[in-house]
């Protein structure tokens, strides 16, 4: 039973991280209909920035997290301005190829500065809590709590502030948003900034229980895509629920079926689901 609970905690941890990454991806997709393949690279840069601030500059964990979020947000806005904005009227295949170009570039730059080695990043929350035999590392609790706080904050931002409302308005109807005079450029930049920040937060939360290396974004971004297809592309609650489904499937599958094939579980699930429902599990209609 305790082993099972352990897997539940693992599932929640993974689900939280995947959910945060998928949230950023789904926001950009919902607004601009760009599947941003470079999002995984933003996640990776987020981890390296935190590593840089913490290990190389000796900053505190929270400071490093904030710094990394700021850097990645700026980077994401630059991607929007320099790459996706000029391509807004191009055929959809071009956005995707451009995103791949950004991904390759960011990975190469990080590799140039830090090499391709696996790095460890510690955090001040290295302790382990013991609840009557149920062992929970503090960092895992922080991940779950952190993801919860971020999701609530994002919801409040989208629902309660004017800027958030413009983002929702534009996601619901582009033409309608233009009619009431919403500045599309500002909204697009804002969305990319939020998306980048979420990726950086997720990376900084997850890095202490994982490793930091230039291709660390690959698996995460692909799972995030599986999640937003599961949850309906562009849907915020879908990303969170989808994140939890994949997180639990992976934790339980890895434990009860096979550790070496645990990464295939998410993709197998996607293949299965799309074979039955080409428009995704919860999506109302195919985009």
């Amino acid at each position: 039973m305790s082993l099972f609970l352990q897997q539940i905690i693992n599932g929640l941890t993974l689900g939280s991280i995947y959910g945060l990454v998928a949230l950023g991806l789904t926001l950009v997709y919902g607004l601009l209909h760009i599947p941003n393949f470079a999002h995984g690279a933003l996640y990776m840069v987020g981890a390296f920035m935190s590593y840089f601030f913490m290990v190389d500059l000796g900053a505190h964990y929270w400071v490093a997290m904030a710094g990394s979020a700021a850097v990645v947000a700026i980077l994401a806005v630059l991607c929007e301005r320099l790459v996706f904005h000029p391509l807004r009227n191009s055929p959809p295949i071009h956005d995707k190829i451009a995103a791949i170009g950004i991904l390759l570039f960011l990975e190469a730059v990080v590799q140039m500065f830090w090499g391709s080695d696996f790095r460890r990043m510690s955090s001040p929350f290295g302790g382990i809590l013991n609840f009557d035999g149920l062992i929970i590392p503090e960092q895992r609790l922080l991940i779950i709590a952190g993801a919860f706080v971020l999701v609530v904050a994002l919801q409040l931002f989208l629902r309660k502030t004017m800027t958030g409302a413009t983002i929702i308005a534009m996601a619901q109807s582009r033409d309608g948003a233009f009619l009431v005079g919403i500045d599309a450029n500002r909204v697009a930049m804002m969305t990319f900034a939020i998306s980048g920040m979420l990726a950086a937060f997720a990376a900084t939360l997850y890095a202490p229980i994982n490793l930091v290396y230039p291709t660390m974004g690959h698996l995460v971004i692909m799972k995030a895509f599986v999640i937003i297809i599961l949850g309906g592309m562009g849907s915020v609650p879908g990303a969170i629920v989808g994140g939890m489904i994949i997180g639990f499937a992976e934790a339980l599958g890895g434990f009860y079926i096979s550790t070496s094939y645990k990464d295939i579980i998410a993709f197998g699930l996607l293949v299965l689901i799309l074979s039955i429902r080409p428009q995704g599990l919860f999506a109302k209609g195919a985009h």
């Binding site: 055929p91 995707k96 170009g101 190469a108 993709f267 996607l270 195919a286």
Partner: protein, 343 residues
């Protein structure tokens, strides 16, 4: 200038290029250069496959490198673990990639645009993970060693670089010839109609699914052919062969050369493979150049070298043509523009 431009596209130019390719081993500085050129040709064959599904049919397939790896692994495993000789295993690799292409195709091609790209990205990753983890079948991270070389019917020894170069060249010429025939055939035009719009194609009575799956199977068979040749050439393969990076490389080659064109994949691949070779000192950092190159290309030259060249030539011929012809070419430009905007 104009005369020179039109010359480049004549059959004479193609024969000149062929002659250059045939004579290349004689004026290459060393055997290594022949080897690099053979590698470029192998990749070019795979890129032609990508051109069928992505260039002609308009579906961004991100599992292409995976099918390349399946071709290489089928040949490798059939010769090493099952004791087949090269040519039967080669046929086996073609059949395997065609069958798997068919199976993946019938599931994935029901999906539209983004969904298709994401799905194939995941398929590519599943192929990589399976090759890496399924050790009983694929030898896992150790890779497959001592793959059989093609036997040359007693006269030539294909373990040598130069004979193998010619073997690859024969397949490449065939691949390009087939692509040329395809682009002019009804089938090829059907593919282009699908790229220009699903609904439009359907309204013309085109069976979308059947044609897309056919294009996909053709494309994966090209990738399998290239993969099998690659395995026969290097004779050692590992999970890295299935790395998604290879898919991205091929997309870059295709885009630089000119997506949807006949000579583009060849020019793009050879050009970039040689540039990569001369940038050896950059090793894995070459993506610092290739990444932004990819972005700049889709923004400023979405049709690549060959495509931009063709457009430029078309404009030239328009300004030189008499008024009556200009009227005709206006129609052509409109069609061209439509094709461009959907490429």
């Amino acid at each position: 200038m104009f005369k020179f431009a039109s010359l480049l596209m004549t059959p004479a130019a193609k024969y000149l290029m062929l002659a250059f390719a045939v004579l290349f081993p004689f004026f290459a500085a060393n055997e290594y250069q022949v080897y690099v050129m053979a590698t470029a040709f192998v990749w070019a064959i795979a890129v032609y496959g990508l051109n069928i599904i992505t260039g002609f049919c308009g579906q961004l397939n991100l599992a292409h490198g995976g099918f390349f790896a399946i071709g290489a692994y089928t040949l490798g495993l059939l010769t090493v673990d099952f004791g087949w000789s090269f040519w039967p295993a080669f046929l086996g690799a073609l059949v395997m990639t065609a069958v798997l292409g068919f199976l993946v195709g019938i599931v994935s091609l029901r999906l539209k645009e983004h969904y298709f790209a994401i799905f194939t990205l995941c398929v590519g990753f599943i192929i990589y993970l399976l090759i890496d983890k399924w050790e009983e079948l694929t030898h896992g991270a150790i890779g497959v060693r001592d793959i059989a070389a093609p036997y040359g019917f007693g006269l030539v020894d294909f373990t040598e670089t130069t004979p193998f170069y010619y073997l690859v060249l024969v397949f490449l010429v065939f691949a390009i010839w087939f692509m040329g025939r395809l682009s002019k055939s009804l089938l090829g035009r059907t593919f282009i109609a699908i790229r220009n719009g699903d609904e439009l194609a359907q309204s013309l009575g085109i069976n979308l699914m059947r044609n897309k799956v056919l294009a996909f199977v053709l494309s994966t068979t090209y990738a399998g052919l290239a993969g099998a040749l690659y395995a026969g050439m290097v004779r050692f393969i590992g999970p890295e062969e299935a790395n998604v990076q290879h898919t991205f490389d091929m997309i870059t080659y295709l885009l630089v050369g000119g997506i949807g064109t006949i000579m583009g994949p060849l020019l793009g691949t050879i050009g970039l493979v040689w540039i990569t070779q001369s940038l050896q000192f950059l090793e894995e950092y070459r993506m610092i150049i290739f990444g932004p190159l990819l972005v700049l290309l889709v923004i400023f030259f979405p049709r690549g070298i060959t495509g931009s060249f063709l457009t430029w030539m078309h404009r030239k011929s328009q300004s030189l043509a008499p008024a009556k012809k200009r009227q005709e070419s206006k129609v052509a430009t409109a069609q061209n523009r439509e094709a461009e905007s959907n490429a």
